[in-house]
């Protein structure tokens, strides 16, 4: 990989692509803007490189797309569920803190996992243990603690490891 011209010019290809797409989304598509998008997509990561060094590399794009879809679907369902909880009598709610043992190790992967859990209504990431091996969640309504842990690890953590940590 070292010395490969592509990585040298474009050390963060996915990021560059995302930036270029964002640029086009912001400005509209025209020849001039295409060039600008390309230039900025390449220039900004290089410019910001000292601060980006620790960004993880995406290994499996397909898995990423799948994960996105899964999360979107879960968000939809959970929203409805949680809306009912919120609107219902609050005395019925059984909130709780839940500790989730983490298998992912890369800090960004951990952060991403914690974010996904937060995005899905009903659970919010609260803290990590000092060794970042455990994630503390607050659950609005705890019914089956272990089942919940297993479900999120299965649905979010495993694909994440596949995407970010398969090296």
């Amino acid at each position: 990989m070292q010395g490969c011209p592509v990585t040298k010019i474009c050390p963060f290809p996915i990021l560059s692509a995302g930036l270029a797409a964002t640029w086009l989304a912001l400005t509209g598509i025209s020849p001039l803007q295409l060039i600008a998008a390309l230039a900025l997509g390449l220039a900004i990561p290089r410019f910001a490189a000292p601060l980006l060094a620790a960004l993880p590399k995406v290994r499996a794009v397909g898995a990423a797309v799948r994960l996105t879809a899964v999360v979107a679907w879960d968000v939809l369902l959970a929203n409805v569920a949680v809306a009912r909880l919120v609107l219902g009598p609050s005395s019925r709610l059984r909130p709780g803190f839940v500790r989730v043992p983490l298998a992912v190790t890369h800090p960004h992967a951990i952060a991403l996992f914690a974010s996904i859990v937060s995005i899905v209504p009903g659970s919010v990431s609260m803290a990590f243990s000092p060794d970042t091996r455990t994630l503390l969640l607050h659950i609005l309504h705890v019914e089956d603690e272990q089942g919940f842990i297993d479900r999120i690890k299965e649905r979010y953590e495993r694909p994440l490891m596949e995407i970010l940590e398969k090296c």
Partner: protein
């Protein structure tokens, strides 16, 4: 021209010369002072024959005609007499000084100041222009101040100097007022013009005010009661100074002034009454006090006061002969008093004390000095054959001849006789106590004074006798022309002579001599004057109390008013602004306009509600500071929504970004401050502040309401029309910022940059350049750090987009700068300040400087093209296949703005972030729990 030389020679030649010569010894300095003085005297003497014929000389050079200040000089009899006195006695004083000073004294300085004084005094007597006269007048006060304070180590000298300056300088300012008033009435400051317009001036309603101010000036200068007290205090000066300034010359300036202005003032009832009353009072009072002074110089000082009163009395009287007597006595007093001062100085010099209770029997040790002193004291007492007798005789005659001055008419004869008796008594005391009585523990055995030290006194004594015996052959012509300069040609036939036959004045003289001797005998033997303790409430002590008291009072007043309380300052300022803003509406009433208002939507209500809650909440909860910060954020958000809703997207965006940065700045500051505000305002203060706040708020609301309901006329159409063709941009606000009003923006980025430098400067001493132990990355930090890292490139992209489109759409350099700052702020917060600073090595100061420079250079580019600063250029750059790329030079300007904003925000945040927090945990408290 001669006159000008006469005046300026002593100072310009003398002062410089003495200062240079003082290294070469006392004699050299004395010669350096004496030669110019003598030259002046010689020049003046050359003018004598012409003046004695009754001529007068007036020369004039314009200086500041618009002010009325001209360099106009007059030489007539009066000024000739005074001029000769000043220069003649001055010369003698120079000689005397040479031997008087101790080796450690800086003689050059004394001579230089004496020369300055001589010039100033000559200036007074030769001035034809009233303002010019006043300039010299104040110069004499100043030089007197410096001369009295010559021995700076002596507290009495410092005090005496200050007192003299306060009284005479203050009187000078009163005089200034008086002269200005008359000058305004007359339309000129030339004395001849005043005399010519005499009646018009005297009939003017402001004349009496002017007269009062002028008299105030004259009385203070001539130490008239109740302003006399500075003169005894001035005796702390070296004796030559006392002899010169405080007996012979400067104190005569007040008298001179009234004599000079006599053609204008003379005969005015107010003038006559006030002057004679004050003069007579001063004469009796001074003589009375003089008897009880133990200090030789003190005695002489009060004697001087008394004689000045005598002269003042004579001047006030509305008869020609009285004025002649006054002028005559000026000369006589100058000679005998200067001589006496010199004698007193010799005695002090040789015996080490001036206290008459200790002195005695000096007749044997210093017979010549004793003889001199007896001559001078006899003149002072009005003994026949000495000059004082002649003028005193005239004085008695005038006192008997008061007609039409009600009360004074009957009192005056008795009063003058009494005063003269006192005068005789203190003269006798001077001679007897010093030369014939027994000494009591003298500090050291008196020895003979140096030969040359006695010469000046001897010369003066000779003059006393010569004038006394042969008046007609000595001074009579001079006195005559001098008197004519005062009273004009109305002088009747008269003769100055020793013997006028046996007359009532003669009787008064005899009564005075006999009575005076009797009084002294009584004082000596029955009352034992040596045990007398001076009164506690002298004018001098009163003045000193008043002086110290008012300095302390002023200090206290300022401590109360200017008490260092910002709250008070702000409250008063706000009240002042409220008053200013409200005043026109109190005058003209408040009117709203006629514009139909926009309907209120539900949205408006909601936003309005947020604003109200946010603002009031800030007040309500401001003690818990972090909550106040949250609410400040809410208010900012409302402002931003308001801007957005009312068609100001640029404002809305900028406000949003600024609000976020501000919140962070406030929090970073708060981390270094107490977390809660104590409850310490009194109810009174809360009510006061609330009242001010409500009124101010109501005022602002009314102002905006008044304008919002009015039709609008404006120049704004121009910007809409010219934005695209002239400015090359569709976003008019941006074109305004970088083009139409780019100069504002140029100033503004400088303000911003300096504010950041200010933050950096203020926090300089608190900086932790590099923490000893870098904080370990915390597990919980990874959430934010990861998000910050991910958002960074996108934020930069958005910033680029906002920057580039700014000329045509909302955005621009400010906003882009703020967004990039926020993106970096995220990194700071995510990973810690120091790790990021090591990786992003930008010198923010350079960034700010470069931004300002770039903006400035863009402006200068227009100048290169011959256009004014900041003239923009724009056009479309055609790129094949791609289209037109609109370019405006304003983009470069905006880039400068971007850099300056970025540098500012980052410098501020970095400086705050690096500032030491004093034991954060200890201060944290938990007020909100």
């Amino acid at each position: 021209m001669t006159l000008l030389i006469i005046i300026l020679l002593p100072f310009f030649a003398g002062a410089a010369g003495t200062l240079m010569a003082q290294r070469r010894g006392f004699s050299a300095a004395a010669w350096a002072a004496a030669v110019p003085t003598a030259a002046s005297l010689a020049l003046l003497a050359g003018e004598v024959p012409e003046i004695l014929t009754g001529e007068h000389i007036i020369v004039s050079w314009p200086w500041l005609p618009s002010v009325g200040l001209n360099l106009s000089l007059r030489l007539d009899g009066l000024s000739l007499l005074f001029g000769l006195l000043i220069l003649g006695i001055g010369l003698l004083v120079i000689l005397y000084t040479r031997y008087y000073l101790s080796p450690e004294d800086r003689i050059g300085r004394l001579y230089a100041l004496l020369m300055l004084f001589t010039t100033a005094m000559l200036g007074i007597v030769f001035s034809e222009n009233a303002l010019l006269l006043l300039m010299f007048w104040e110069l004499t006060s100043l030089s007197s101040f410096l001369l009295i304070g010559f021995w700076t180590h002596s507290p009495l000298a410092r005090q005496g100097a200050r007192m003299a300056f306060a009284v005479t300088g203050g009187g000078g300012l009163a005089l200034l007022g008086g002269l200005l008033l008359i000058g305004n009435i007359a339309g000129s400051f030339e004395l001849s013009a005043w005399f010519a317009a005499r009646d018009a001036i005297r009939n003017h309603p402001q004349f009496n005010i002017a007269l009062a101010l002028i008299l105030l000036g004259a009385f203070t200068k001539s130490a008239q009661f109740p302003f006399h007290f500075w003169l005894p205090a001035a005796m702390a000066a070296p004796t030559p100074v006392s002899a010169f300034l405080h007996s012979a010359t400067m104190v005569k300036a007040g008298v001179f002034l009234l004599a000079r202005l006599y053609p204008l003032l003379g005969g005015n009832l107010v003038f006559e009454y006030v002057t004679t009353t004050v003069g007579l009072t001063t004469m009796v009072f001074g003589a009375y006090v003089a008897m009880f002074r133990h200090d030789l110089k003190g005695l002489l000082a009060y004697s001087t006061i008394s004689h000045l009163g005598l002269i003042m009395f004579l001047l006030g009287l509305d008869t020609p002969m009285s004025s002649l007597a006054a002028v005559f006595h000026v000369g006589n007093h100058a000679t005998f008093k200067a001589s006496l001062f010199m004698a007193a100085g010799i005695i002090d010099h040789e015996c080490g004390t001036r206290d008459m209770r200790r002195l005695g029997g000096l007749w044997r040790q210093m017979p010549q000095t004793a003889a001199l002193a007896i001559v001078a004291a006899s003149a002072m007492a009005g003994v026949p054959l000495f000059n004082g007798f002649l003028s005193k005789e005239m004085f008695f005659a005038e006192a008997l001849d008061l007609h039409g001055i009600p009360l004074l008419e009957s009192i005056a004869p008795a009063a003058v006789t009494l005063g003269s008796m006192f005068s005789v008594a203190y003269s006798v005391r001077f001679i007897h106590d010093v030369f014939f009585d027994q000494p009591h523990d003298l500090p050291h055995q008196p020895h003979k004074p140096p030969r040359y030290m006695k010469i000046p006194a001897e010369v003066l004594a000779v003059v006393c006798i010569a004038v006394g015996v042969l008046p007609s052959y000595t001074v009579a012509p001079l006195v005559d022309v001098a008197a004519r300069a005062v009273v004009g040609d109305s002088l009747p036939f008269y003769r100055i002579a020793l013997w006028h036959g046996f007359s009532l004045p003669m009787v008064m003289s005899i009564v005075a001599l006999a009575g005076g001797s009797g009084i002294y005998w009584l004082l000596r033997n029955r009352y034992d004057v040596h045990l007398h303790v001076p009164a506690r409430y002298t004018g001098r002590l009163l003045f000193q109390h008043a002086y110290d008291g008012s300095v302390a009072l002023a200090g206290r007043c300022m401590n109360r008013l200017q008490n260092g309380s910002l709250q008070r300052y702000l409250a008063l300022s706000i009240a002042a602004f409220i008053g200013l803003g409200a005043w026109p509406f109190i005058q003209h009433g408040f009117q709203t306009g006629r514009l139909a208002p926009m309907p209120v939507g539900p949205l408006g209500l909601v936003v309005w509600g947020i604003a109200m809650i946010g603002a009031l909440g800030m007040v309500w909860s401001h003690r818990t500071r972090v909550v106040a910060v949250i609410l400040a954020g809410v208010v900012g958000l409302v402002a931003s929504i308001t801007f957005a809703y009312f068609s100001a997207p640029d404002l809305s965006l900028t406000q949003l970004a600024v609000e976020v940065v501000t919140t962070v700045v406030l929090l970073m500051a708060l981390a270094r401050l107490p977390q809660a505000t104590p409850r310490e305002s009194t109810t009174h203060r809360i009510v006061r502040d609330a009242a001010l706040a409500v009124i101010a708020g109501a005022g602002v609301a009314l102002l905006s309401w008044a304008v919002l309901t009015r039709e609008q006329d404006s120049i704004a159409w121009y910007f809409l029309e010219n934005s695209v063709p002239g400015g090359g941009g569709h976003n008019v606000v941006n074109v305004l910022l970088v083009d139409f009003r780019g100069f504002d923006t140029f100033g503004e980025i400088i303000v911003l940059g300096m504010a950041a430098i200010g933050v950096w400067l203020v926090l300089a001493g608190m900086r932790v350049e590099w923490p000893a132990i870098l904080p370990k990355p915390e597990a919980n930090g990874i959430m934010f750090a990861a998000a910050a890292r991910l958002l960074l490139p996108f934020a930069l992209l958005v910033a680029v987009s906002m920057f580039l489109r700014g000329h045509d759409l909302p955005g621009g350099g400010f906003l882009a700068g703020l967004i990039v700052s926020l993106a970096l702020l995220m990194q700071y917060m995510g990973e810690g300040l120091h790790p990021i600073l090591t990786r992003v090595r930008i010198d923010f100061l350079v960034l700010i400087g470069a931004g300002v420079l770039l903006a400035g250079l863009t402006g200068l580019a227009g100048m290169m093209a011959g256009r004014p600063f900041l003239t923009s250029a724009n056009g479309d750059l055609h790129i094949p296949f791609l289209g037109d790329l609109p370019l405006a030079s304003a983009v470069a300007f905006d880039l400068g703005v971007f850099m300056a904003v970025l540098g500012t925000a980052l410098l501020t945040l970095t400086a705050l972030g690096q500032a030491r927090r004093k034991s954060p945990e200890a201060e944290e408290g938990r007020p909100w729990n």
